[in-house]
Symmetry: C2
Subunit: 213 residues, 2 copies
Amino acid sequence: MTAQQERAILTREKVIAGAAEVFYRQGFGGATLSDITAAAGVTKGALYFHFPSKDDVALAIIEAEHRIATAAAARILESTAGPLESMLRLCADLAERLTTDPIVRAGIRLTTETSSFDRSLTRPYEDWLATFEALARAATATGELRAGTDAAKLAHFIIPAFTGVQVVSDVFTERADLRQRVREMWEILLPALVPPGDESSSQRMLEAAFSPR
Amino acid sequence: MTAQQERAILTREKVIAGAAEVFYRQGFGGATLSDITAAAGVTKGALYFHFPSKDDVALAIIEAEHRIATAAAARILESTAGPLESMLRLCADLAERLTTDPIVRAGIRLTTETSSFDRSLTRPYEDWLATFEALARAATATGELRAGTDAAKLAHFIIPAFTGVQVVSDVFTERADLRQRVREMWEILLPALVPPGDESSSQRMLEAAFSPR
């Protein structure tokens, strides 16, 4: 790689980092390109070289967030015991990233501000829905979820529910209580989902997924 | 009332109706005052007379939405049998309004676009949380919900879950499937919430709240 290419990559990363801060604080509509260049410490020319419009910067952040979350999900799916515990761990992990990772929290805010873009932002939801539907199906096959569980319907409730929990946690506490609220979501849901008599197993999974790091 | 006062009230209503359409379609950040005057069919001068800034128009819509939803909630709370059924009916009613009432759907979109305003928009959530916590407490007292139900925790999951269900329904179907998705939310939740053996009662409540109008 030439020195010039290295500088270009570095500049692009600076823009994304600066823009993530601005979008997270001010939302898409409230962010100007001047705010972004100021936060990123780059010139307007450098910004335009990488991103012709504010839409392009925002979409790059959503893509970066999705890559980070997908990689983290892959690690969890490889490493945990059963599919139901994976569902809990994925939620706990995303809750953690939503409070600590600047790219992730900006990306999710941009995703839930649906009306900011002309393009419809269904892709991130579709990936999560597909992952959770597959996990719910597997968990029903292994008997971790009740026989007869409708995996598609369940996934299509858990992903929106998580979405709302983080929106409301953001409004009230800037996500300081997010991890606890996501744990409470699972505490309420699990008794409806696991076979009768599996309470101790549910408790163990909750502790494993949500115990303080 | 003088003719002049009547005209002023009419103009204010026209601005709110026009702005509701614009905010719902374009979001807060994407809406300009020119868009609003064009949609409302009023002059810029008339707009500024009632609302000094875009923030003020948006907050007026959120207030109008909250008044509509609160009045509807009061009617439901007066007319239905038990507190658990009231919780289902309130959700079904708001789902219906979110698909059909221009002020309500614009108000909720503005509320969930949390970063659009400097002011924190916790009030609408607080009112819903308080209503649902009171209903959950009453439903536990009457035995409709299981003994030992944590009313505050339950309310603090249902309201965010509903919020997320409408956000995701909006992304995928512009809320065409919202009523069905909210029904599915309750189908998943009720088995965890009602005492064992109350399945037929749950089914009756679901039909009463969500049957097609």
